[in-house]
């Protein structure tokens, strides 16, 4: 998923005509001062760190300034700070508006209904999970029909908006639906949507674009998102690779089997560090590539758990042995294998000739790899 930073989300909002505070993005304190001095951003203003993690206000990543000098000072304080592991490189400077009520609106997918759902709540400005469900209105939207005018009216009513306020909400909701569909969004959220005088304004923007729709959205291709550098390389090589915070590497085929393998490791006190899904590949080169990527994550031990159905055990074993040879001796790690299924005997024999034992029992194999990661021999 491509999570857009607030300013990128707001650029999308602007394109679709959603009302926003006046603002600009800056990357240095000098730019912050200049933007306020020239009036590009009216004073007083708010400076917001452009990071993906939530809780910026409480975490000191949002500050206010009444003069250009204060804007410079505040920018200096935020830029370069590390917020929940993310370095702040960009700031969004916006005019500070006189805010009335804060509301919540979003569009997302209801997987059970297999329908998009419009969610609105009069309690905005806080995490929606913390809001009492009776204060949230959920309207499923049929994709063939789109967000109907009566549904938008119902949302306004639930939010307690009437007159010009209701009138200003209506096009925002229509745009939200357009963004959700046309931009292939998983989530479009405005929290808070603030009452400012006689209209509502989007103070924040949260937009998540679906990865699988990347083929028709080259405009998002450059956004690195919150992937780790290794996850980024894996993505380019089309290998499913997820970094976690433990020290055991897991190579398996298929998402379900990979998850089940992680569960077994955890049961024996192991902490999975990297998970790599070979998928349905039966290409030894691809297996080798995946294995070398795993080596770069420097795991304490690696567990290869493959069930050959379409994939053949012998081709996986061949790729694995080939890749092992390419890893320098100083960077080798203990390897526990469990290969089962299609051409199992041949695969086990190839591994054995390279000094790797395949343990057929998942429990036994899981225990062995956890032990190896803790310093014992596999």
């Amino acid at each position: 998923m491509v999570k857009l930073a607030e300013w990128r989300g707001k650029e999308v909002f602007r394109k679709y005509g959603i009302a926003l505070p006046k603002g600009t993005v800056v990357r240095s304190s000098a730019e912050a001062e200049a933007a306020t001095r020239t009036g590009t951003v009216p004073l007083p203003c708010v400076l917001k760190a452009q990071v993906l993690a939530g809780g910026r206000g409480k975490g000191g990543a949002v500050r206010f300034a009444a003069t250009p000098a204060e804007a410079r000072e505040a920018a200096e304080a935020i830029l370069g700070m590390e917020f929940k592991g993310e370095k702040v490189r960009e700031l969004l400077l916006e005019e500070k508006l006189a805010i009335g009520r804060e509301l919540y609106v979003s569009l997302t997918l209801d997987r059970s209904l297999r329908l998009p759902v419009l969610m609105v709540s009069p309690h905005g400005g806080v995490e929606i999970e913390s809001v009492d469900p009776t204060s949230i209105d959920r309207q499923p939207i049929h994709p063939f029909v789109g967000l109907a005018a009566y549904e938008r009216r119902r949302a306004a009513e639930f939010l307690g908006l009437t007159g010009p306020l209701a009138k200003s909400l209506d096009p925002i909701l229509a745009s939200l639906w357009e963004i959700f569909q046309k931009e292939d969004a998983e989530l479009v959220e405005i929290n808070p949507l603030a009452v400012v005088g006689d209209r509502v304004v989007a103070l924040d923007a949260k937009v998540i674009i679906e990865d699988d729709a990347a083929f028709r959205h080259s405009e998002y291709a450059e956004i690195r998102d919150d992937r780790t550098p290794l996850e980024e390389i894996a993505r380019e090589k089309e290998i499913a690779f997820v970094q976690l915070d433990g020290n055991i590497g897991v190579i398996a085929n298929g998402a379900g089997l990979t998850m089940a393998t992680l569960d077994v490791l955890q049961e024996y006190g192991g902490r999975p560090g990297v998970f790599l899904d070979l998928g349905g590949t039966d290409d030894p080169k691809k297996v080798a590539e995946a294995f070398l990527l795993m080596a770069r994550a420097a795991p304490r031990a690696v567990f290869l758990n493959v069930f050959g159905g379409v994939t053949r055990c012998d081709t996986v074993a061949t790729g694995l042995v080939e890749a092992m040879r390419q890893v320098p001796a100083s960077e080798r790690f203990p390897l526990v294998a469990r290969i089962r299924g299609n051409n199992e005997a041949e695969g086990v024999a190839i591994l054995r000739s390279a000094g790797i034992t395949s343990l057929p029992d998942l429990r036994e194999a899981g225990r062995a790899v956890v032990q190896a990661a803790q310093g014992g021999r596999p």
Binding site: R111, F144, V242, L244, G254, A255, L257, A260, D277, G309
Partner: protein, 293 residues
């Protein structure tokens, strides 16, 4: 007996001239499936594994009276392939293709539903009834005819579990891989009544995973409508929140879709939930020896 596929299933493979389409046409035929046609635009007149190729679904169906389709075409073209299959009047479509945008799948699901076509998948291994027919890519070797119905959101893990059930000397009526995407054509709730109604299925194995609420929905359904014993398993207990665990649909978002929630829901509906996949064959055997045939 079986559900959804049987000896009368006549399959057309959409994307038959691609690598996957060709490999699995061969595997389906080895399983005993009647693969009667393939479709690849522009390739009419050729054949793959002895199966004639047509330019369109309409032409393939007119020539062969196929009643099921298996889609292997790449994700950007999957939506069109499905619409074409539905318009040609097919009854059942298995979509193997992975990485279809969910917005496309919403259109596909609702369109198929209006026209009365059932979709299995996408991003799924398909459906198989040992001795009768297979539509999809589940390995032939794992099956053995028997009394267990299997429904699962996973691929390889399903093969492993079915293999374990077969090795235990038990066997399967039908195995349905529902797929790992957030929007699927057939959910647990859609598949459960089929297995409940199938006289030869004596027990249901249900393999779920983190993400969404399909297992919680299934638990509600089971409590009210399923009389047969159900053994469950949920993969992804150790998955950290916010990480997409290989399947597009396998993600704990904003505290929703955890393994704990699913396990608790299933247990409250009387489903015995295995802690690990290797426990399933023993649980199935024990349950079958208790349940009346």
């Amino acid at each position: 007996m079986s559900v959804l596929v049987d000896g009368r299933t006549r399959v057309v493979v959409q994307g038959i001239t691609g690598h996957q389409g060709t490999v699995h046409t061969r595997q389906m035929r080895l399983f005993g499936t009647q693969v009667v046609a393939g479709v690849t635009p522009g390739k009419e007149g050729s054949s793959v594994e002895g199966v004639p190729v047509y330019n369109s679904m309409a032409r393939a169906m007119a020539a062969t009276s196929a009643n099921a389709s298996c889609i292997f075409v790449p994700a950007p073209f999957a939506r069109d392939a499905l619409i074409e299959a539905v318009d040609a009047g097919i009854e059942l479509v298995v979509i193997v293709t992975e990485h279809i945008p969910f917005h496309d799948m919403l259109t596909m699901y609702h369109y198929a539903r209006i026209r009365g076509t059932r979709i299995i998948g996408p991003n799924c291994p398909g459906i198989a009834s040992p001795g009768l027919s297979k539509v999809g890519i589940i390995p032939n070797v794992v099956f053995r005819p028997g009394p267990v119905g299997v429904i699962s959101r996973s691929g390889t893990l399903t093969y492993e579990i079915v293999n374990g059930i077969s090795e235990h000397g038990l066997g399967e009526t039908t195995c349905i891989g529902l797929g790992g995407d957030p929007v699927n054509g057939t959910s647990f709730v859609d598949a459960l009544p089929l297995l409940e109604a199938d006289p030869e299925t004596r027990l249901i194995v249900m393999v779920g995973e983190i993400g969404g609420a399909a297992e919680e929905d299934a638990a509600d359904y089971i409590r009210q409508h399923v009389s047969k014993p159900v053994i469950g398993y949920i993969a992804g207990r150790s998955a950290p929140p916010g990480k997409r665990m290989g399947h597009a649909g396998a993600i704990v978002l904003r505290g929703k879709g955890t393994a704990e929630s699913k396990q608790a829901a299933l247990e409250s509906a009387g489903v015995q939930v295995a802690r690990f996949p290797y426990e399933i064959p023993d649980l199935v055997a024990a349950r079958l020896s208790r349940a009346p045939p």
